[in-house]
Amino acid sequence: MNKRSSWALPYFIFLVLFVVMPLVLIVLYAFQDASGHFTLANFTKFFTDGDALSTFALSIEVALENTLLCIAIGYPAAYILADRRLNRSAVTVVLFILPMWVNALMRTLATAELFNMAGITLGKGTLLFGMCYDYLPFMIYPIYNVLNKMDKSYAEAAEDLGAKPWEVFAKVTLPLSMPGVVSGIMMVFMPTVSTFAISEFLTNNKIKLFGTIIQENINNSMWNYGAVLSLIMLVIIAITTVLQGSDSREAAEGGAI
């Protein structure tokens, strides 16, 4: 073995200390009571707490709806951006990513204020709109990346062989772009499930999402219960990650602009 592999050692130690240990601590705290004894009480508390359960269900629902909304709006946009016949300028793509550089909380506050001015009551509708607004670029970018790198000769071959435009799309372009969609789902679903500040601003604290109750518990020194909630979210993340497989990772690696 090449001895330069030992160069990874400092980072390995760093990862064990700042990534593995903290996750182990979440599990540890989840199974302890406030005085450090083993208990399952934190879990029974969650599974018998109607409010917490319905918040959990609502968070998953909102995250799913937001992800679907982002695909529905983002896919056509990415498709148009990647089609040379429709869009020749790379600057247009940059324009879609640019808003992400403005502080997300500030943009969210402004969105909420725009709703107020238009006389729209803050609630689930505005929450979905605002979240879709915040995360849409994360859906467009990976799909655009995959579509842009895609070998156009497949689609041309299908056309030459007599496929109608919608057939070319459904049987060639769409399947080939799936890695981009999957990594877009990861980049939208995970943050939406766990967001807290954004949902507070967009609903004027009327709707609580899972992230908010984690934050409230941790901030009120209910560390053990907060750890259980975090652990439950971790499980959701692990399941989603396993489901998506590893083939889509390269789609997200478009690099920085």
Binding site: Y11, V94, M100, M106
Partner: protein, 268 residues
Amino acid sequence: MKTGTRILSKAYLWLILVILYAPIVFIAIFSFTEAKSLGNWTGFSLSLYKNLFMGSMQNSSGLISAVENTLLIALVASAVATLLGTVAAIGIYNMKGRKKQVMSFLNNIPMVNPDIITGVSLFLLFVFLHFSQGYLTVILAHITFCTPYVVLNVLPKLSQMDPNIYEAALDLGATPAQALRKVLIPGLRPGMISGFILSFTMSLDDFAVTFFTRGTIGLDTLSTFIYTDARKGGLTPELKPLMTIIFLVILAVLLFINIRSAKNEKAS
């Protein structure tokens, strides 16, 4: 392609862009009036800009130190992450089999973890170790979520390099330090730069991780400052000109880079 389709798709893109930019334009417009709350127009005025630059507003020290903290933390965290990540990438590249799998698995965890989990888990770590929270813990936390992206940006550069060049430099009498400086680093530089930029922007934009690791010493970054401000009801009005300026600077930089690289592409 039919003209109808072309017009329709252009219109679709522009519609989304208008919606994406509406809040930002909204902030920009209302930065030119004196009123405290967003959406309240009391006539054109540059006083918010003046306050911002003269530092003569309520809570001015809070806002200014939040901006300084944000930049300082982003700079230190992304510099350390770039160094740590580049060295790690060289190591990982030279690994084989099981070891390599373990490293890339560990490297993926911070990227897949949502911010709130990273934040809460690090919070528990610092509590567990009785580590008092402040600048150091926030910077460590930011290094944690930035470094994986540096590794991912440097690794492809390593596989594009001829593995023998480094050995050749050593054979020809270069010391390892010289070989590193003159051969390895220049080859990896593009990956290191994009890793640094990515780290820097993520650190600037971070809210949740900072929120959980900043402790109770009153350390604020721009994000936590805005959050606390908004929860108190009523944003510091000078945030509007500040955001407008930040946006315009980024817009100018990005357009400059892209137009220049588009020209270079055409020229070559």
